[in-house]
């Protein structure tokens, strides 16, 4: 974990290939649970792991384009912005990228 100037932490989650194309995985990082998605065109997104509605595991949701659907009651969220497309409330997003080594790097805080 690397501490940055602004107090944010950078966390390495391992190779992007851990997440099959079009799927998500939940990670424990910096005391938080975070769902990371890799779309079929290799974009990567990180959001809070639990759906704000009833705590559904978003990492198990269906992903299409940049939208994820919660597996419990089909609330829909836009992954880049965290906006709710179907449901009352949005979700928290985290900056994330794949570094030169192919590892997922997440920024928390």
């Amino acid at each position: 974990m690397t501490q940055t100037m602004t107090g944010a932490k950078k966390v390495k989650l391992g190779p992007a290939a851990v997440i099959p194309p079009g799927e998500g995985r939940a990670f424990a990082a910096g005391g938080e649970k975070i769902a990371v998605f890799r779309t079929r065109d290799s974009a990567i997104f990180a959001v809070q792991a639990e759906c704000p509605h009833r705590g559904g595991p978003l990492a198990d949701g269906l992903v299409g384009g940049t939208v994820v659907i919660c597996p419990l009651h089909s609330w829909k969220f836009d992954l880049p912005t965290g906006a709710a497309l179907f449901g009352d409330c949005g979700i928290k997003t985290y900056p994330v990228r794949v570094d030169e080594a192919g590892d997922i790097v997440l920024t928390i805080g």
Partner: protein
């Protein structure tokens, strides 16, 4: 210890013996020393089954209700073969024909009735006995005499076309006699049927080889020493070798009249079934007259017996019989009949609701007075009998929509119009969306059902309210909805109807979900459309489908059912609901090893292990050593079965074996929605096969009725009969064809009940059974290929685990 009272029962028929049973059930054995006169030499038997003895379907000893040892076991002295001849009320003595006295404290008269013999010349011989060949039909002895005489004879006549007469006719056919029923009335079963129903029944009887002569009064029985024929009052004659007189019954009240009790048509009793003249004498059954009526059916008599027993034992001194409404349900010559109350309207304002389809032997008629049922006849189709009998019995108000009284309509009735409906009325019970919220959404600019559903979430739970949401949206738009073309698409993300989509997929050889999006949706993925496409591609390409895990809903991705807390449930395959001690032990071990919080039996006769961590799933499957039960997928789920013919005494067909074959045939099949199946070994339908997506119900003759489109979930619907199959193999064939037709033509997430209602059972039957489109052979082939492509997903998962698929939380590296 107080001395027991002496209770004497005159009559050991169904009423007398039942009353004694009821008394014993109330502890009367402690209170009374019981003696029973019975003029027949045997225990009590079920008179209703006499015709079945005559036709050979029951043996004599099978119809006994209380065989002789029963009396001994219960301390009852049965005076078998003794007829009670007289009473001395002041001395409280009952006498038999030889003058032996039987003292009583309480007396019950249950002498029943005897056949009524109309005035006809030549009925008896000079000695007063019946002429050889003349019979009545009331006792086992009558049965034996008829059977002995009928041997080698050519023809028989039954005088009287009532229920008992028709049953006698059916029994007589068993002796290869030419049987004719003669009735004085203009139609058969005049007590229970009107003329139209009687005419249909007559046709049915004639189809079964029984001749019917109506409006004939028999004037004489011809023949000097034995029966040779009949002469009617119109002068015509009819040759025959034997005559069974079944022209009604006459209550046996002589013993009561002989000691001065009030007798009209029967022995007059009060609401406690006591003689109106003597507080220690009761009368029950066919010989009793209560509030002016005598009853000849068992149901009212059972009610009388209970009241009498409550009163005589002091268990309930207030017990009172208020009379019975007569409703009967019976089967005559294989025709099912239900009848209640009056058979023809009597008041000018009586409303008659009627349906008649004589060709199929179906007839329904209801007589309604002031909104309540006062009479009804159902012939051939008794599906509404239970409801109507209850409405008749309880005198409950009937629904305004009279059609519903005669038929099961597919949709629940609309109770109020949308104008009348309050804004607060909850329409979507899953997501709690009110009519007001839907209307507000329309006013805010969402002008079609789909947009409203997306905005309000109405209809997105179980989906059963979608129809109503659509109607409310249309109503709120004033009929000017903006058509959303996507409602016709198979999935919203690909702008093609299902047939167009299938054609395009085949034409472009698209074998994966992303290939479909690339080619047919301009490369734009739609998350919600993925599972539908995956299901369709699997159906089309079977083993050659290119699986992409991300296209599957989580349940199908990891072969388990996600629960509200993110844990999973595991249901192993238990075909036909048949398990074994070893298997149960293994399941129990797994449940303990993985700390399963809840082990529950499912409605589909399987065992559900709930609350498992995702991480444990592959190990659970490995330890279970059982294939997946697919309790999580939009697939074939299971086939529920009753015990069937192996053990059940009513079983007509081997429902377990059929369920096993069905499971082996269709396991793991992807489909537009889940498919729950059932097999029932008889029409009692214990396994609820009639309300399954597909069901098979055994009927007499080794046949199976195939039901499709049944539902008993958020929507309740009885399935439609697709056809009647002659064998297990034929059931599999037609079920398979329907399943494939459904897989190819239903929208994604359209259950079979919606599909069957949308397409229509006639159309489906034409395609599937009559092969009207010439595709049956191809459908059969597709099914065979799908079957061959079946793989147990659990075995696949634990033998070649994909990295991290089952890990619920991955750790960070640094």
């Amino acid at each position: 210890m107080t001395q027991k009272q002496k209770l004497v029962v005159i009559g050991n028929g169904m009423a007398g013996a039942r009353t004694v049973e009821e008394i014993l059930a109330r502890g009367g054995g402690e209170q009374f020393e019981i003696a029973m006169f019975g003029d027949e030499p045997t225990g009590n038997y079920n008179r209703i089954l006499l015709s079945s003895v005559l036709n050979g379907s029951y043996k004599e000893d099978e119809i006994y209700l209380n065989p002789l040892p029963w009396y001994e076991e219960n301390g009852i002295r049965l005076l078998a073969g003794k007829r009670a001849a007289g009473l001395l009320r002041r001395a409280k003595l009952a006498f038999d024909e030889e003058g032996n006295a039987e003292p009583y404290d309480k007396l019950i008269i249950a002498t029943g009735s005897r056949p009524f013999i109309p005035q006809m010349e030549g009925t008896t011989m000079p000695d007063g006995k019946f002429k050889p060949g003349v019979f009545v039909f009331r006792t086992l002895e009558d049965c034996r005499s008829i059977a002995a005489y009928a041997q080698g004879k050519g023809s028989a006549v039954v005088i009287g076309g009532g229920l008992l007469g028709l049953e006698a006719a059916r029994g007589l056919q068993n002796f290869h006699l030419e049987v004719t029923v003669v009735d004085i009335m203009g139609h058969l079963m005049a007590q229970q049927l009107d003329a139209a129903a009687g005419a249909i029944l007559k046709t049915k009887m004639e189809e079964l080889g029984v001749k019917v002569l109506l409006k004939k009064t028999t004037a004489a029985i011809l023949g000097k020493d034995r029966v040779l024929g009949l002469r009617f009052s119109d002068g015509s004659t009819h040759e025959c070798d034997l005559v069974v007189i079944s022209a009604g019954i006459k209550p046996n009240w002589e013993i009561a009249a002989g000691c001065g009790l009030t007798v009209e048509r029967g022995i007059v009793v009060d609401d406690q079934m006591r003689s109106v003249d003597d507080r220690d004498i009761y009368a029950v059954g066919e010989c009793a007259q209560h509030r002016g009526r005598c009853y000849g059916l068992v149901a009212p008599i059972w009610e009388q017996a209970k009241v009498l027993a409550d009163h005589i034992t002091g268990r309930n001194p207030q017990a009172a019989y208020h009379g019975s409404k007569i409703a009967t349900k019976l089967k005559v010559m294989g025709v099912e009949v239900a009848s209640m109350g009056i058979v023809d309207p009597r008041d000018e304002d009586d409303e008659v609701v009627q349906f008649s389809e004589p060709k199929r032997g179906t007839y329904k008629k209801l007589i309604i007075r002031e909104g309540r049922l006062v009479g009804g006849i159902l012939l051939g189709d008794l599906s509404k009998a239970a409801y109507l009998t209850q409405a008749f019995d309880r005198n409950t108000p009937l629904p305004e929509e009279r059609l519903e009284l005669l038929f099961d309509l597919g949709d629940p009735p609309k109770k109020v119009t949308f104008e009348e409906m309050s804004a607060a009325t909850q329409i979507c019970n899953c997501n709690g969306v009110s009519k007001g919220a839907i209307v507000a959404c329309v006013k805010a600019g969402k002008r079609n059902a789909k947009a409203v559903m997306e905005a309000t979430r109405a209809g997105t739970g179980c989906g059963s309210c979608k129809g109503m949401v659509t109607e409310i949206v249309e109503w709120a738009c004033g009929g000017e909805t903006e058509e959303d073309p996507s409602v016709h698409y198979y999935v919203p993300g690909v702008p093609l109807t299902k047939p167009e989509l299938i054609r395009a997929i085949r034409q472009h050889n698209l074998r994966s979900v992303s290939a479909v999006f690339d080619r047919l949706a301009g490369g734009k993925e739609d998350a919600g459309s993925k599972p539908g496409l995956a299901s369709l591609l699997k159906t089309i390409w079977k083993a050659d489908y290119e699986d992409q895990r991300d296209a599957r809903f989580i349940n199908e991705r990891i072969h388990a059912n996600i629960q509200k807390n993110g844990t999973f449930s595991v249901v192993p395959q238990i075909p036909g609901g048949i398990t074994s001690p070893a298997q149960l032990r293994r399941i129990a071990d797994v449940a303990e090893r993985y700390h399963v919080p809840l082990v529950k039996l499912t409605g589909g006769q399987r065992i559900d292990l709930l609350g498992l961590r995702k991480d444990d799933l592959p190990n659970v499957w490995r330890d279970l050593e059982m294939p997946s039960g697919y309790a999580y997928g939009k697939t074939y789920r299971t086939c529920k079965s009753c015990v069937g013919s192996d053990f059940c005494r009513f079983g007509l067909g081997d429902s377990i074996a059929l369920a096993l074959k069905i499971e082996a045939e269709f396991q793991g099949f992807d489909s537009p929605h889940k498919m729950k199946l059932g097999t029932a070994g008889c029409p009692r339908n214990c396994s609820e096969a009639m309300v399954k997506d597909l069901g098979a119900v055994a009927v007499e003759g080794g046949k199976w009725e195939i039901y499709i489109g049944g539902a008993a979930g958020s929507h309740v619907r009885k399935g439609d009969i697709l056809c009647v199959a002659d064998s297990h193999e034929e059931v599999l064939k037609y079920m398979g064809r329907f399943i494939q037709y459904y897989r190819e033509n239903a929208k994604y997430l359209e259950r079979s009940y919606g599909f069957v209602e949308r397409v229509g059972i006639e159309k489906i039957r034409a395609v599937v059974v009559e092969d009207s489109e010439g595709i049956a052979e191809r459908l059969d082939r597709e099914i065979a290929e799908s079957k061959a492509a079946y793989k147990d997903p659990w075995r696949e998962a634990y033998t070649a685990p994909a990295a991290d698929r089952f890990t619920s939380l991955l750790p960070a590296l640094s």
